[in-house]
């Protein structure tokens, strides 16, 4: 078996003519974490629903753990663990009862189910909360239980659908540590969907960027960022300039390339961003374009996204999904700066 997950040309159109997937292909190797990165509505959740046998695609094929999702959904279900966006745990039952029942549903005997539940409660720091009803859990505790529920039957492939959405920063960090440990210790193949750029950057060995139902770029976070060569210079204008005017002005600055004009936000790329910045500002000033703010950033996945999807991540999120879910701001400045911090640290 070459791949833990292999999907080819998935197409899914919903009754209201929304084309959720438009020929999406993706592979995940054994023991690998693949980050499926994209804004809300890009098709990540539909991909997970198809690969976990919840939904049948209109076209395309997929195998998970070597089993065809359309022909042998029963075998796929035994091989996968799913941590969905919505918990699904019984709120009035205790964490332990939820885990034991989950074990029984996957065919574990009574003793085995209880032992496995105790093991997971210990491992995920839930021992103290084990006997309390799940509805009393905090967001982070609940999420750890969700992951434990997905692991009860020791799956070969794990699906994590936006595992940290809505968590506070501390709970997020501890969830990240947990996920990294899963792939390391358990050699699980993991498909992680996220709309947090820093999350994909930090956890995934390989990232597939999804936009409008297709994978638009794929590779290791470093390789994707490496393709961009150089720093990004972002300029926020007081008001949106005329595009040709802005392009022409920026085009005159030596060493500047990849000009993107996106309303009042202008972006260019330069080998040394700090050195190019004065020239950029001067050129804009000369053209009568008033700059309100400027930043220089090491390449981040946000830049990769901008390059392949032709729009900014935060914008795509807003355009496709309206108001964002509660929780920390999922993209934009904060995600970018932490992605930058991760890159700047040079850990990878």
């Amino acid at each position: 078996m070459a791949y833990a997950i292999e999907a080819e040309g998935l197409v899914k159109t919903y009754p209201d003519d929304v084309r959720a997937l438009d020929g999406l292909s993706v592979t995940v190797g054994p023991g690998e974490i693949l980050g499926l990165l994209g804004p809300n509505g890009a098709g990540k959740s539909t991909t997970v629903k198809i690969l976990t046998t919840l939904v049948r695609p209109d076209a395309g094929t997929a195998t998970v753990a070597g089993h065809d999702v359309l022909r042998r959904p029963d075998r796929v279900r035994r091989a996968i663990g799913v941590v969905p966006q919505r918990s699904g745990a019984d709120p009035d039952a205790s964490g332990r009862d939820n885990l034991v029942l989950q074990g029984r549903l996957y065919g574990l005997g009574g003793t085995a189910a209880r032992r496995r539940a105790a093991e997971l409660l210990e491992r995920f720091g839930l021992a103290e909360a084990a006997s309390r009803p799940v509805r009393t859990y905090s967001g982070g505790t609940q999420r750890r239980l969700d992951v434990a529920l997905g692991l009860v039957h020791r799956p070969e492939v794990l699906f994590l659908d936006e595992p940290t959405t809505g968590l506070d920063p501390e709970a997020r960090a501890s969830m990240w540590a947990e996920i990294a440990r899963l792939a390391g210790d358990d050699a699980l193949a993991i498909l992680l969907t996220t709309h947090y750029l820093d999350e994909a950057d930090r956890l995934a060995r390989r990232v597939a960027i999804v936009d409008r139902g297709r994978v638009v770029a794929e590779g290791t976070p470093d390789a994707l960022k490496g393709e961009l060569r150089g720093d990004a210079v972002h300029v926020e204008c007081a008001e949106a300039p005329a595009e040709p005017l802005a392009r022409e002005a920026l085009g005159r600055v030596p060493g500047v390339r990849d000009i993107v004009v996106d309303g009042p936000r202008l972006s260019v790329r330069a080998d040394d961003g700090a050195a190019a910045l004065p020239g950029v500002l001067a050129a804009l000033d000369q053209a009568g374009i008033l700059a309100a703010a400027a930043t220089v950033a090491r390449p981040s996945l946000d830049d990769v996204y901008l390059r392949y999807a032709g729009r900014r991540f935060a914008q795509a999120n807003q355009a496709d999904a309206g108001p964002l879910p509660a929780g920390p701001p999922p993209a934009g400045p904060s995600a970018e700066s932490s992605a930058r911090a991760a890159t700047g640290g040079g850990a990878r």
Partner: protein, 258 residues
């Protein structure tokens, strides 16, 4: 087959544990039938004096009516819990597990059956305490409880079907409001069929609530008419099978639509 049985068992176990954690709900929902029993018992006490009603005590006649009306009312809200489970992601958690689809539905049916049977027995006991008598004895009571369970399963299956297809709480409430009164008053629940206007008698004859009551009352009589009980129970049983089938089908349709 054993996978289906094990799945049904654990899914049912889950449902009944939830019920056992909140026994107050079962008792609280009994308040309404108690009020019916008291109000209708007082209000219509004298209708038995009408020529042709055919029974001496209205309370004797009323208890089966309230038992079945309660089964209709209680179970038409079953879809609410289903919508909760859809929104919470619980249903999807089971759909990605090896549990059979029919086990998920079976568990719902067993839960409705257990809670309906429990409430029916309480109403029958309270009716007895208030002075109602059941000459048919234990066998008669058992048939009445079984009929209330079947009516309950039919309503629960319809309610779940709506929940899976429409996924809207107001529709479920609408089902209860729209069906409860017509189903019970256009039946032999509170009034002997022979005393109804002609059109109403025709409607009542085709009403599953009447089938349940006619079967139950036939079995509760001093001299049980088992032939009549069976003749009314059979179409009810068939209807139960059809509606449960419909609910399983709507589960598949739910899966396609998400």
């Amino acid at each position: 087959m054993s996978a289906l049985l094990a799945g049904t068992w654990w899914m049912t176990h889950r449902r009944l544990s939830a019920l056992a954690r909140k026994p107050a709900v079962l008792v609280l929902t009994l308040v309404q039938p108690m009020i019916w029993l008291f109000l209708f018992g007082q209000l219509f006490r004298k209708v038995v004096e009408l020529p042709g009603f055919g029974t001496g005590s209205y309370l004797d006649y009323l208890v089966p009516g309230v038992v079945v009306m309660n089964a209709v009312s209680l179970n038409s809200f079953a879809g609410m819990a289903t919508i909760d489970e859809i929104e919470r992601g619980t249903l999807n958690r089971f759909l990605v597990s090896p549990v059979r689809r029919s086990a998920i539905m079976n568990a719902g049916v067993v839960e409705q059956a257990v809670s309906t049977a429990f409430q029916s027995l309480v109403i029958i006991a309270l009716g007895w305490a208030a002075g109602a008598r059941y000459p048919g004895g234990a066998a008669g009571v058992a048939v009445l409880v079984a009929m209330s369970v079947l009516v309950g399963i039919v309503l629960a299956a319809l309610s779940n079907t709506l929940a899976l297809l429409v996924r809207d709480r107001n529709t479920i409430i609408g089902l209860n409001i729209m069906l409860l009164l017509p189903l019970t008053f256009l039946s032999s629940a509170f009034m002997a069929k022979d005393l109804m206007p002609g059109w109403m008698r025709d409607v009542a004859a085709g009403n599953p609530v009447s089938w349940a009551l006619d079967a139950g009352r036939a079995a509760l009589a001093a001299d049980p008419d088992w032939g009549s009980a069976a003749a009314h129970a059979a179409p009810l049983l068939a209807l139960t099978a059809v509606t449960v089938g419909l609910a399983v089908f709507s589960l598949r349709s739910y899966q396609k639509s998400q």
